[in-house]
C-alpha cells in the first residue's frame, strides 16, 4: 500500500507538472482561500498579541470603577454617579488595595493652548497614586505630588503626544499651558507608551484632582472614576466582591436593582478585546472558508474532466494490471497534491498580504502567524482535496477496462 502511495505521488506530480497552467488555475481557488484565511488570522493575531503586551504593561492587577447608567435610565434623565464619598468609603473600608486614586475627566473643555497652538487632549484630574495604579512614570520633571492636590496647585503632567501637538520644547517643564481658561505650569512629562489600536496613549494631560474639582464647579454633579491597584496577595475576585457590596450599600440598592457602577479589571478589558478579535477572526474566517469550498469544487470539476480525458489511459492501466486502488489512489493523490500545493502557495501569499496590510497602516502591530493557523490551512486544504477528489477518483477506479479502452 505504501508502495502504491509513493508511486501515485510520483505520477501525480508528473501529471500536475504536465498540465502546468491548468493545475495552477485549478488550485487558484484554494490559493485565494488559504491566502485570505492566513492574511486575516495573521493580522488579527498580531493585533491580539500586541494588545496582550500593552495590557500587561498597563498593570494587570489594577481595577477601574466607573458609574454606569443603563440606557433606559438615561432616557429618563437619571444619571448614576460615583462621588468623592464613594472614594472615601473605599479608601477607609476596603482591604487588599495597594494604592487608589480618583480620576476626574474634564467635562467643560478638553482644549489646551500653548502660545498660538491649540490642541485637544484627554484632560484628567487625579492624584499621586495614579502613577502606581496605571504604571505611568515621568520621563522628565516630576509627577503630581500630594501637596499639589492639597493646595490645588495649577500644575500639569503631560504626555509626549501633547508636547508634540503643541510644539512644546523638548523639555516642556516649566512651560505654561492654558486649560479651560486657566494657566497651568507643566511639571513633568510621562514616558512614552506608544499606540494601541491606532489610539495614542500619550495624548493626555494630568492635573491635580482637587484643582480639577474646583474648576468643575458644581460639586453635586461630580462623577468620578476610581482606579486602584491591588496589593500583592489580594485576589481580584474577592476585592471586586467586597467593592460591590460596599458600593451597593452606599448607593442604597435593594436586592433586585442592578449595580449602578461597573468594576473593570485590566484583564477583563483584555479579555473583551480578545473576544472581539476572536469573533472577527471566526466570522471572517468563516466567510473566507466558503472560498475554500468553492476552490474544492473547482478541483473536483477539473478532476472529473481529467478522468474523462484520461479514460483510455485508465483502460490501458487496467489492462496491464492496475487494480481499483491503484487508479483510486492516483487520482485522489493528484487532487490532494493539487490542493496542498494551493494551500502552501496561499500560505506564503497570505503571510505576505498580512505583512503588507499591517505595514501599510501606521501604528498597526506586526502580522504574526500562529502555528495552528498554518496547520489548519494546510489541513483544511488537504481535507478539501480528499473530499472533492473522492468522487472523480472513484469514478475513474470503477471504469470497466473494455469500455475505457474503447473510449475515443
Amino acid at each position: 500500500m505504501l508502495f502504491s502511495i509513493l508511486e501515485s505521488f510520483r505520477s501525480a506530480m508528473l501529471s500536475i507538472y504536465a498540465h502546468g497552467l491548468r493545475s495552477f488555475l485549478t488550485t487558484l481557488g484554494i490559493v485565494i482561500g488559504v491566502a485570505s484565511v492566513i492574511a486575516v488570522v495573521s493580522v488579527t493575531q498580531g493585533m491580539s498579541s500586541f494588545i496582550g503586551d500593552t495590557f500587561a504593561s498597563l498593570g494587570s492587577n489594577s481595577l477601574t470603577i466607573r458609574s454606569f447608567t443603563p440606557f433606559e435610565d438615561q432616557m429618563k434623565g437619571i444619571r448614576a454617579r460615583l462621588t468623592p464619598d464613594d472614594l472615601q468609603l473605599i479608601e477607609n473600608r476596603a482591604e487588599g488595595i495597594a494604592s487608589i486614586t480618583p480620576v476626574l475627566n474634564a467635562t467643560r473643555s478638553s482644549q489646551i493652548k500653548y502660545g498660538s497652538q491649540t490642541a485637544f487632549s484627554q484632560i484628567m484630574g487625579t492624584t499621586y497614586a495614579y502613577q502606581d495604579v496605571s504604571q505611568s512614570y515621568t520621563q522628565v520633571g516630576r509627577f503630581l505630588a500630594d501637596s499639589d492636590n492639597n493646595t490645588r496647585r495649577r500644575v500639569a503632567v503631560i504626555g509626549e503626544k501633547v508636547r508634540e501637538n503643541l510644539n512644546l520644547p523638548e523639555n516642556p517643564v516649566n512651560e505654561f499651558v492654558e486649560l479651560g481658561g486657566e494657566w497651568f505650569k507643566i511639571v513633568g512629562m510621562l514616558e512614552q507608551k506608544g499606540e494601541m489600536m491606532g489610539f495614542s496613549q500619550d495624548d493626555l494631560v494630568l492635573t491635580p484632582y482637587a484643582t480639577m474639582q474646583s474648576l468643575q464647579g458644581n460639586q453635586n454633579k461630580t462623577d468620578i472614576a476610581i482606579q486602584l491597584s491591588l496589593s500583592e496577595n489580594a485576589v481580584v475576585e474577592d476585592v471586586v466582591q467586597q467593592l460591590t457590596t460596599l458600593l451597593r450599600n452606599a448607593h442604597d440598592l435593594s436586592g433586585e436593582e442592578d449595580d449602578d457602577f461597573v468594576i473593570q479589571t485590566a484583564e477583563q478589558l483584555m479579555e473583551t478585546f480578545d473576544t472581539v478579535i476572536n469573533m472577527v477572526t471566526i466570522v471572517i474566517g468563516g466567510i473566507v472558508s466558503i472560498s475554500l469550498l468553492v476552490g474544492g469544487i473547482g478541483i473536483m470539476n477539473i478532476m472529473l474532466v481529467s478522468v474523462t480525458e484520461r479514460t483510455r489511459e485508465i483502460g490501458i492501466c487496467k489492462a496491464i494490471g492496475a487494480k481499483r486502488h491503484h487508479i483510486l489512489l492516483q487520482f485522489l493523490i493528484e487532487a490532494l497534491l493539487l490542493s496542498l500545493l494551493g494551500g502552501l502557495i496561499g500560505l506564503v501569499l497570505g503571510y505576505g498580504l498580512g505583512t503588507l496590510i499591517s505595514n501599510s497602516i501606521p501604528g498597526f502591530p506586526n502580522a504574526s502567524i500562529p502555528l495552528w493557523s498554518v496547520a489548519l490551512a494546510l489541513g483544511f486544504s488537504g481535507f478539501v482535496g480528499v473530499l472533492f477528489g473522492i468522487l472523480p477518483a472513484a469514478k475513474a477506479a470503477n471504469l470497466d477496462p473494455i469500455d475505457a479502452l474503447r473510449y475515443e
Binding site: L14, E313, I316, K318, A319, I320, G321, A322, K323
Partner: protein, 233 residues
C-alpha cells in the same frame, strides 16, 4: 497440460430487446508455445474471444482455465492481477500512455507488482533492448514512429514475462515494411518459447502462425494446423 482450456464458452449481450450471441459455445485448448491466429470477418466474435482470453471480459457461461487456474468467479481486482501476471497485451492502436516515455511505458506494469524503481528500470531496459529500442528509451510515444510504438508496446507486454502474449490486429495501423519487421519479431518470440495468440483479418499475418482458427457467428468454423507446426496437444 494445456496452457489454455476453454469449454462451452458463451458470451451474450443484450442489445435492446435482442440478445446478441457474440460467442456461442467455444471449446478450445491452447498448448504452451503455441502460435495461434484467430481470423474471421468483423462480427465473427474474434475480438470478444480475445477479451475473454485476456481476462478483460467474463464469459456468460462456460469454463476458462488459464495455466490450470479457473478464472471464473474472480472479481475485477483478481482479474487485474491475472492480467498483470499471465498476460501481455499488444493492441492495434498501441495504447501507450501518452505522457510517459518509452521506458516509463514499459515500466508501468511492474508498478502494479510493487517492484522498486531501480529494478523496474533495469527490467524495462532489457525488454526494450530485446525489441531493438535500447536507444530510444527517453522518447515520448508521439516522438516515435508507428513501428517503434508497437515495439514499445511489445516490450511492455514482454517485461512481465507473461504466460501468453495476446495481440489484437498488431499490424493493423502499420505499413507493409513495418508489418514484416513486427511479424519477424513475433516469429522470434515464438522461437524463444513464448505463447502467442493473434487476432487478425489479414491472411498474410495469419500464415505466420502455426495454427489458424477461423471464426464465424461466434463459433469455431475451422481449426487448422499448418505443415510447419510444432504443436503438441
Amino acid at each position: 497440460m494445456s496452457l489454455i482450456k476453454l469449454s462451452g464458452i458463451t458470451k451474450h449481450y443484450a442489445m435492446g430487446s435482442q440478445v446478441v450471441r457474440a460467442l456461442d459455445g467455444i471449446d478450445i485448448t491452447v498448448a504452451k508455445n503455441d502460435y495461434l491466429a484467430f481470423i474471421g470477418s468483423s462480427g465473427s466474435g474474434k475480438s470478444t474471444m480475445l477479451n475473454i482470453l485476456g481476462c478483460l471480459d467474463k464469459p456468460t457461461t462456460g469454463e476458462y482455465y488459464l495455466n490450470g487456474k479457473n478464472v471464473e468467479g474472480l472479481n475485477q481486482n483478481e482479474l487485474s492481477e491475472i492480467r498483470n501476471l499471465e498476460i501481455g497485451f499488444i493492441f492495434q492502436s498501441f495504447n501507450l500512455l501518452p505522457r510517459a516515455t518509452a521506458l516509463g511505458n514499459v515500466m508501468q506494469p511492474l508498478v502494479y507488482r510493487n517492484i522498486g524503481l531501480k529494478k523496474r528500470k533495469e527490467m524495462a531496459l532489457n525488454s526494450l533492448k530485446r525489441v531493438g529500442l535500447g536507444d530510444r528509451t527517453d522518447h515520448l510515444p508521439n516522438q516515435l514512429s508507428g513501428g517503434q510504438r508497437q515495439r514499445v508496446a511489445i516490450a511492455r507486454a514482454l517485461v512481465t514475462h507473461p504466460s501468453i502474449l495476446l495481440a489484437d490486429e498488431p499490424t493493423g495501423n502499420l505499413d507493409s515494411k513495418t508489418t514484416i519487421e513486427i511479424m519477424q519479431l513475433f516469429d522470434e518470440l515464438h522461437a524463444e518459447g513464448h505463447t502467442l495468440i493473434l487476432v487478425t483479418h489479414e491472411d498474410e499475418i495469419a500464415h505466420h502462425c502455426h495454427r489458424i482458427i477461423e471464426m464465424k457467428d461466434g463459433r469455431v468454423y475451422n481449426d487448422s494446423t499448418s505443415h510447419s507446426a510444432k504443436v503438441s496437444h
